[in-house]
């Protein structure tokens, strides 16, 4: 490019003008808070919930179960439960979303279908959660229907079941969109070739189609798994105290308990898990793989 002919000072000025403000913003409001939280996680809870020294690893020890009163893996159990929950949600979402993405991408009315899938996702997140309370509560829609058939009402709210349904509902579009993009790019001649070579339907799909959609699947899985792992609103509203996930622990520490030091440590453990997963993903999928997450 002939822009290389411009003077270094001019170039620096343009660089600062374009990248400068945004980079500064992210440093101040993303990097600095993250570093502050790191420091807080090594401090202790003082009077009135203030953070006081000296530095200690007690918060992390407590999270991993080593308390002054002995070994108690309470928070590890919650973390494990959250991970199992996030995996469960991701698997269900994949089972529902993968065929759906396929159906949309191969449909003649894909524009309209895609819009239909995205539309509920644009309604406010809280309203979508709230709607499931109305459906599952004691005198809600499901129990009214059961009653109409003379059946006993079910206890659906608050419950794990309700939390699962609402979480799958909330994050389904996150999986459908990247898988849809991958299906759109499929080179169907590979399937024809496989069939010419005698592959049946299932083998043809497994060897010629599925691998081509793998990048979309992995991106979609991450986009569901990460928010499911960190959720606290859904478990708070639909679990109503019976469902405690790692997100609820963090929220309580920063809310009613007001132990910001321990809350920071818990948040860092969660963030470390997520970043570890992303790091693994980026190593496999490369930088363009990260772009697929948007």
């Amino acid at each position: 490019m002939n822009r290389s002919a411009t003077s270094p000072a001019r170039r620096l000025f343009e660089l600062l003008l374009t990248v400068g403000p945004g980079a500064l913003w992210l440093v101040v409001f993303m990097l600095v808070p993250a570093l502050l939280m790191l420091e807080a996680s090594f401090l202790q809870r003082g009077p009135y919930g203030r953070l006081v020294g000296p530095y200690t690893v007690a918060n992390y020890l407590r999270f991993f179960g080593f308390t002054p009163e002995g070994y108690d893996p309470l928070y590890l159990a919650i973390l494990w439960r959250s991970a199992v929950f996030a995996v469960g949600v991701t698997v269900i979402t994949l089972l529902l979303g993968y065929p759906l993405a396929f159906a949309i991408a191969t449909s003649r009315r894909k524009e309209a279908l895609l819009l239909l899938v995205v539309l509920p996702f644009w309604t406010n997140f809280l309203i979508r959660i709230y709607a499931w309370i109305v459906i599952f509560q004691r005198h809600g829609v499901v129990n009214a229907l059961l009653g109409a058939f003379g059946l006993e009402p079910l206890h659906l709210y608050p419950s794990w079941f309700a939390v699962y349904v609402a979480t799958v509902y909330t994050y389904l579009p996150f999986l459908v969109l990247p898988v849809y993009t991958a299906v759109e790019r499929i080179d169907w001649t590979l399937l024809e070739a496989a069939q010419d070579l005698g592959a049946g339907r299932i083998r043809g799909f497994l060897h010629a189609v599925l691998p081509q959609t793998l990048p979309g699947i992995v991106a979609g899985v991450l986009l569901v798994f990460i928010p499911a792992l960190g959720t606290f609103v859904i478990s708070d509203l639909l679990g109503a105290g019976r469902v405690v996930l790692i997100g609820n622990v963090i929220q309580q520490q920063f809310g009613v308990v007001r132990d910001w030091a321990f809350g920071s440590a818990a948040a860092y453990v969660l963030m470390a898990l997520v970043l570890l997963g992303l790091w693994g993903y980026a190593r496999v999928a490369g930088e363009e793989g990260l772009d697929r997450l948007v």
Partner: protein, 258 residues
């Protein structure tokens, strides 16, 4: 297989629309409790409009969304332009920093911002939790999304167009104003639309960065739901669903025309 796939599609679509249909229907139901249909009424909407604070909450929500979107669109577009055009030290570190708000769980970002605002307040006396802190928080995740959307638009740009403008004597600013900007404008608008919706949709960041007097509609819905389900909330939700649906369809139509 084809028929099975079709059935699956219809069932999932029914699953996606069932909750919305329930809320909209119940917002017109006379019965205050339960879900049995007892007749049509507008009364929950009337009550909602008489609720003395609701207009303030709606105004707060819109102020946050508009101001944060404006800031984030400018910062994000410039960021994408700079990343596209220049090589510099720490470029990969900056890219990483852009991905962080997109990928970390929002609760982590929320509590980190809360901690940061408290720290600033202790040391300088500035930044009481208010609409301002909510806006600062929203811009932080919006910038990342805008930058990534605009960058994907820039990636599809033909560099020959900018070079031609420069060869014809256009300076850096003129090239940007008359060549680059018109070409990436659909991307900028798409990024702004995304940022705006993300702001309206956000609950978690708002929850941790809001203070007394800066209640937004999602915060109001949350605190009401904690106290119990009411037809007024059905009505409020229905209005919000209608507004976002119309907004989305309009936005799409506008973007397509370009």
């Amino acid at each position: 297989m084809g028929r099975l796939l079709k059935l699956h599609t219809y069932l999932v679509l029914a699953f996606l629309y069932l909750p919305i249909a329930v809320i909209v229907a119940l917002s017109f139901n006379q019965s205050r409790f339960g879900v049995r249909w007892t007749g049509f009424t507008w009364q929950w909407y009337v009550r909602l409009f008489h609720h003395h604070r609701i207009a303030v909450y709606a105004e707060n929500t819109l102020i946050v969304a508009v101001v944060s979107t404006l800031i984030a669109t400018v910062l994000g577009t410039l960021l994408a332009l700079g990343l596209y055009r220049y090589r510099f030290r720490l470029k990969s570190a900056l890219k990483f920093l852009i991905y962080v708000p997109v990928v970390i769980p929002d609760i982590v970002m929320g509590v980190a911002l809360l901690l940061f605002f408290a720290w600033v307040r202790v040391h300088t006396g500035w930044l009481r939790l208010s609409l301002v802190t909510i806006i600062l928080g929203h811009v932080t995740f919006q910038v990342a999304y805008v930058a990534l959307v605009v960058r994907s638009r820039l990636a599809g740009l033909d560099p020959a167009l900018e070079e031609a403008a420069a060869d014809l004597g256009a300076g850096g600013y003129a090239t940007f104003r008359y060549v680059t900007l018109p070409l990436i404008l659909p991307g900028v608008l798409a990024g702004a639309l995304l940022a705006f919706t993300l702001s309206l949709d956000d609950f978690v960041i708002t929850f941790f960065t809001a203070g007394p007097g800066s209640t937004t509609l999602p915060l109001y819905i949350f605190s009401s739901v904690k106290r119990g389900v009411t037809p007024e909330i059905h009505a409020l939700s229905t209005i919000l669903i209608a507004v976002t649906t119309v907004g989305l369809l309009l936005g799409r139509a506008l973007l397509r025309r370009r």
